[in-house]
Amino acid sequence: MNGLPGFLHRLEGPQTVGRGPAFWITFAIVFAIACAYPLFSDGYTVGNTVYFFVWVFIALSLCVIWGYGGSLSFGQTAFFGIAGYSYGILTLNFGSAYGFTLVALVLAIVIAALFALLLGYFMFFGRIAGVFLGIVTLAVTLMLERFMAQTAGPEWRIGAARLNGFNGMSAMPPLTIPWPGGDIVLFADIGLYYAVLGLLLLVYLGLRILMNSSFGNVIVAIRENPERAEMLGYDVRKYQLITFVIGAALAGISGVLYTVWGQYITPSSMGMTAAALPLIWVAVGGRSDLTSTVIGTLVVLAAFQALTIYGSQYALVFMGVLLVLTVLIAPNGLVLGAMNLISRLAARCNKGDV
């Protein structure tokens, strides 16, 4: 990868699996297929695929905080919900004219990140670590769920936006891009598909660069040995807080996109089941790598949806079994295990050629 601007070198590095022409050619082919896919499919199926993509961001948030940073957050859904509700409240009050939905999207993510900054400050600078971090974040998301579930009365409104208790908020406008000659409205089919795919590409590549940068080095160092990292002169708690806020922003992206996709958001999106599922996707995929997280999440989501046809309870039981099997067979993740196997085989073949 010679001749590229400096930061693009970071697309490859010790923190991300996949390097060299073979990887990037495969990557380009997969992306081209993803781009062409709506041309060969119907609107409903494309909309359903958008739904899968939406969840990848919250999975990446766990990958960053837990897989790279070593802090298990059980409450990424809190940021998901905060961003989703924020988007609803903002757009129900201010509408979608002049591209405001895009402003609301950014603001909602910022609000989720600010909440994470506050929560994370007290956790990390209060020296909460390990399993207690998981307990605190889980408690926060469950409290938010309980709180939003009791907002059914008419007094629970922010401006024109009723919070609507357990039924949640609905009828917020979809993303609307101002355009001369008529706004482009991104409904939950082809329009939103390309927008989300583009965002996913940017976030994935951006995170690859970030994780292979000196910042990424420090957060994996903290995962491996926080005391040693501090004794090399790194302010461990500051790095943990920044990682946590980045993760919250990623979960916030999921929350906003989910709200945009279905034009509703309910308290159960912050509940126990919602909080547990991303952990399973990420654990099954392989939490310590971005690519395995993306692949694992999409595969498990598709399997989950296919099983839901036979009953959602069965699908949840299957998820539990899958998690147990992963922990027993490949604690670092099934997809990551397979990817490492492939790269080892490829390396052996190359050696054989020479």
Binding site: P14, A221, E224, N225, E227, R228, M231, L232, G233, Y234
Partner: protein, 238 residues
């Protein structure tokens, strides 16, 4: 000139006095060894100097500045560095990445690559640079961690049992390395049980016992001290 000065340093854990009014002055440029029986408070003293524990009372002065209230990372920025008793390398990362993490705070780009290579040669770990640090032998891990600590170019290097688990030959090599670093201007404070190592490197020795400074002097004075023999060396050499 005093580089490190501990004044009346106290640390209790509940009713247990781990360090009890410790006064210690370390001159710039010396190699100072800290010895004493297990539980004497040596490692706790290191943790107090590094800011991992807050002292109940007392002051820590480093290069003339009172650093008692500073966080650990800030003390490292002032010129402290440490190698822990149990090798504290980043086990899941490669040897090269371990050194990169140590050096990247102060080095960038081509200079960073060159300094990592130089350090790999210095530590005799060139062949192992792509290996996961957790797979190194115990001695190699010790060396890697010493390399990481030294790479910060500290004014004061703290070594907590640098030769634990090493063969006599490796111990001697480590001693030579410490002397070389000292010749380049690094002050060294080492906790050590291996008296051959202490004799090889130390100009001054402090004996810690029950959280207090028990005796201080050259290695010959310490070995000749009957009180020290009674509490520590006598047992060690019995």
């Amino acid at each position: 000139m005093a580089l490190l000065e501990l004044r009346g340093l106290n640390k209790h854990f509940g009713g247990l006095h781990v360090t009890n009014s410790v006064d210690l002055v370390l001159e710039a440029g010396e190699i100072h060894c800290l010895i004493g029986p297990n539980g004497a408070g040596k490692s706790t003293l290191f943790r107090l100097i590094l800011g991992e524990h807050d002292p109940g009372s007392g002051d820590i002065l480093f290069a003339g500045e009172n650093i008692t209230a500073l966080k650990s990372f800030a003390r490292i920025h002032r010129g402290l560095s440490v190698k822990f008793q149990v090798p504290g390398v980043f086990k899941g990362l490669s040897v090269r990445q371990n050194l990169e993490i140590a050096l990247q705070r102060t080095h960038r780009g081509i200079e960073l690559v060159r300094d990592i290579d130089r350090l790999l040669t210095f530590l005799n770990l060139e062949a192992e640079q792509k290996q996961t640090a957790g797979n190194l032998s115990h001695g190699q891990k010790q060396w890697l961690e010493i390399g990481m600590a030294v790479s910060l170019k500290p004014k004061l290097l703290l070594l907590d049992e640098p030769t634990a688990g090493m063969s006599p030959e490796e111990t001697h090599q480590t001693g030579e390395m410490v002397q070389r670093l000292n010749a380049d201007g690094m002050t060294v404070l080492a906790i050590e049980h291996d008296m051959a190592f202490v004799r090889q490197v130390a100009r001054r020795v402090t004996v810690l016992h029950l959280g207090q400074v028990f005796a201080q002097g050259s290695i010959d004075e310490i070995v000749a001290d009957e009180r020290v023999a009674a509490i520590y060396l006598g047992q060690a050499h019995a």
